[in-house]
């Protein structure tokens, strides 16, 4: 039986009727048409579906929609405020951290949380933070560089 849940996605309140087994990923992609969040595996291996749940990175494919009841969800669509790219988005674009781009939304969400919690991460901390987000194109080199540059840009 469906349950009514309410949650805020990128600052917008939603009230939705969902099956208890519906995942947060399905809710975002299918019910709210927020297709920026990607499904790479569906079982929490790749990190492509990472969103921030009350500010904490979560695999939306392993999170039931009902678990997000009353939560604030942030997705890649919410990163650019008023059309202005965040410093992380800008760094990803300019540094070549994006190739196929399929891991990018999850990677950006993980990195966003990292820089909020630790504005001056060293390389090891960056690599540790994104180690749950797989990328097959970049060897992570330019992603790590972009996160470092974004951290530096935030403090200029």
């Amino acid at each position: 039986m469906k349950r009514i849940i309410s949650l805020a996605v990128n600052g917008v309140e939603h009230e939705l009727a969902v099956e208890p087994r519906r995942t947060l990923l399905e809710l975002l992609r299918e019910d709210l048409s927020l297709t920026g969040t990607k499904k790479g595996c569906g079982i929490g291996d790749c990190g492509g579906c990472t969103v921030l749940l009350d500010g904490v990175p979560a695999f939306s494919c392993l999170t039931l929609a009902v678990q997000a009841e009353g939560c604030s969800v942030e997705t890649v669509e919410g990163l650019a405020g008023n059309g202005r790219l965040s410093s992380l988005q800008r760094a990803f674009v300019e540094d070549g951290a994006i190739q196929c781009g399929f891991c990018t939304p999850g990677m950006l969400m993980t990195a966003t949380e990292l820089l909020r919690a630790n504005p001056h991460p060293d390389e090891r901390e960056i690599r540790l933070a994104i180690s749950g987000n797989l990328c097959r194109c970049t060897g992570y080199q330019k992603i790590v560089e972009a996160i470092r540059h974004a951290a530096e840009a935030d403090h200029e």
Partner: protein, 790 residues
Amino acid sequence: MSNDYRILNTRAPRVDAVDKATGRAQYTDDLSRPNMLYGAILHSPLAHARILDIDTSRAERLPGVVAVVTWRDAGTEPYGVSPARYDETIFCHDRVRYVGDEIAAVAATDPDTAHEAVRRIKVDFEPLPLVLDGRHAMDDGQPQLHEQYENNICAQVHWRFGDVEQGRREASVIRTDTISSKMQDAAFMEPQAVLAEVDAQRNLTMFSSTQAPHYVQRTLAMALNHPLHKVRVVKPAMGGGFGPKASCSTAELATCLLALKTGRPVKFTFDREQVFLHSRARHQFLHTMTTGVRDDGTLAFLEHECILDGGAYASFGIATVYYAGSLLGGPYRLKNMNYDGYRVVTNKPACGAQRGHGAVIARALFEIQLDRIAEELEMDPIELRLKNVMDAGETTCNELFVSSFGMREALEAVRDSAAWKKKRALAGQTRAEGKGIGAACGFFVSGAAYPIYRSKTYHCTVVTKVDEVGGGVVVQSGAADIGQGSDTMLAMITAEELGVSLDDVRVQAGDSSLSVDLGSYSSRTTLMTGAAARDAARDVKRRILSAVAGRIDVPPETLDLKDGCVISLADPIDFSALRDEYLKEHVGFSDLPDSPKLSFREASRIAFLEIGAVVGTGEYRPPKLGGSFKGAAVGTSPAFGCSAQVAEVSVDLETGEVTVDRITGAHDCGFAINRTQVEGQMHGSMMMGMGEALMEQVIYDEHGRILNRNLAEYKIPTSLDMPQLDALIVESNEPHGPYGAKEVGEGAIMPVIPSILNAIHDATGVRINELPVTPERIVRALRRKSVCAK
């Protein structure tokens, strides 16, 4: 390299980067349509069995199921990648040949119903004996997979170049070594997805995560018996391909069949398990090589045998078995080479192309052999290689002509950048225990010279059109940006030629209705489609400049386009009459041109007013290349890329754990259209090669089932596994490539595995001849070594 380019050779951000960074980019699974159905496929649970009966009645009765299709709907006409080996049918009718082979498909109103319907299809099987070990697939008495493949041999190659016996007499050091690898998964992040729809005129449009819209269009039309001109294949944003997405899949065929049958849009997306089952990724290779070298370190001969375990169907496998031999023709001077290759079929998912098609494991063993020979000759391994590398203008023993070749420069670059001499000199002295350094080279095509089907087709066309309102430029191409950045390459070339900014160029690509383009495989797009885009832009420029020149009565050759304006190469020109005309058309507009120069916007508008549509075209077809021997077509290319790499590792001598500390690679891409993207291709190659060297393997049980069909147990490198990657760009100015450019997408993976393996040997003194080199294999080898020492 200094040059006058404004846009080429820079680090311009990708044209699709902002969309991808904001979630706006639409991948196939992000698309949906009103009234859309969801597809699901029934895969065989058995690796080899006769099909006695398929009963779909219980599935058809399920509410919400709109169509169920089997071979009865799809027919049994074979299709495949190469016309010489059509051995697949859309659905199995009499036999299944691997766990995952497709038997039926369903379209239903929601995904859950579609999956439930698949579960309700009943298939009666009679199990057949299995062939799972590629080593023994050819043996007498083995079960036979296909009538047309005697002894399970799908393709074989027997090449004799030069005189190996003469080489053997000249050689002073002769070694025989072997290597075996495992089947790989390409592990692209985006699982295959398809959306098919049909309009009232029976025009079939398929959106798909494909590397080769043109080939897939042909296969759909042929296998579905649908008019070719009524099939359109569109590739939306795409999350990687690396080879396996270059062949038409049953998912594509079945989804189109369901759309044709129901008249409704149908979407089907693989889950990750299905990506593994479908595979079409790297073969398992079993190589044996005997290499001879003369006293002075020059190569005397290579005798090479390879068995490729290709799984149940041919897919790209014929090309694979040829590439496994042909690409050892370079980058070294090697006059005498024999090759015997056998591509066998087994009851496992079909293998196909994957980054570095066919040549990666062959390269690994050959480069390991060179290190072992250097050791016997007491030569530095890089010195040995430098003694043998080819130079531009040379031809290999199998008739591959290298028109540009920065091999020597690349090798010297990594040697110096990684401080090779200093670190190598420490070996056995003051160096920390378990530290090692290794080097290797590589060689790869820059575009297959022949299409997959026999034809004198152009390999690509590009149509470039200037907006009739003036100012904007549209580039239309069938080329598939699979993540490597070909859309950006097309935009940069067009903007450079027309003197406009990247923001004024819009690329429409990856659509079979826009142009013929053979697709993103064999590292062909920059050289081939780049050349066509250059010519299309020049065609447009000529049309604009002649129209403008006609209006102001000057010779067109005295005009040029630069920095968004028309410039005069002769006397200054008064454009005020043209300016007035433009301004009169735009009363009430703001942002109107006011500099004394005539803007591109005005010039392109005036050209339209003079001549109508301003359209330029370009096309590319390689010149006739290659020798006349059988199979000479595979390996021929307008140009060849080459690369060198130094890997530094630390090995824990107790646990066998390998940490790659640093990789320094240099690749000769001819000319870097986009420096950031060239580095990105090199980094990605390093990562895939490192995974293949140390951790990646598809593991089967005795029933032919994949045990690790997920990304937790099929391990690919994470950010913690990857070291600092240094990518050095070498530019040798390829005469056959646009602006001197040639490949980087695949060649850069060639030296990765052997450089790491050579470094592990340097660190441990042991050689492992089975990939991946896991800690367990290292520990076992170290124990054997210590037992032998006692």
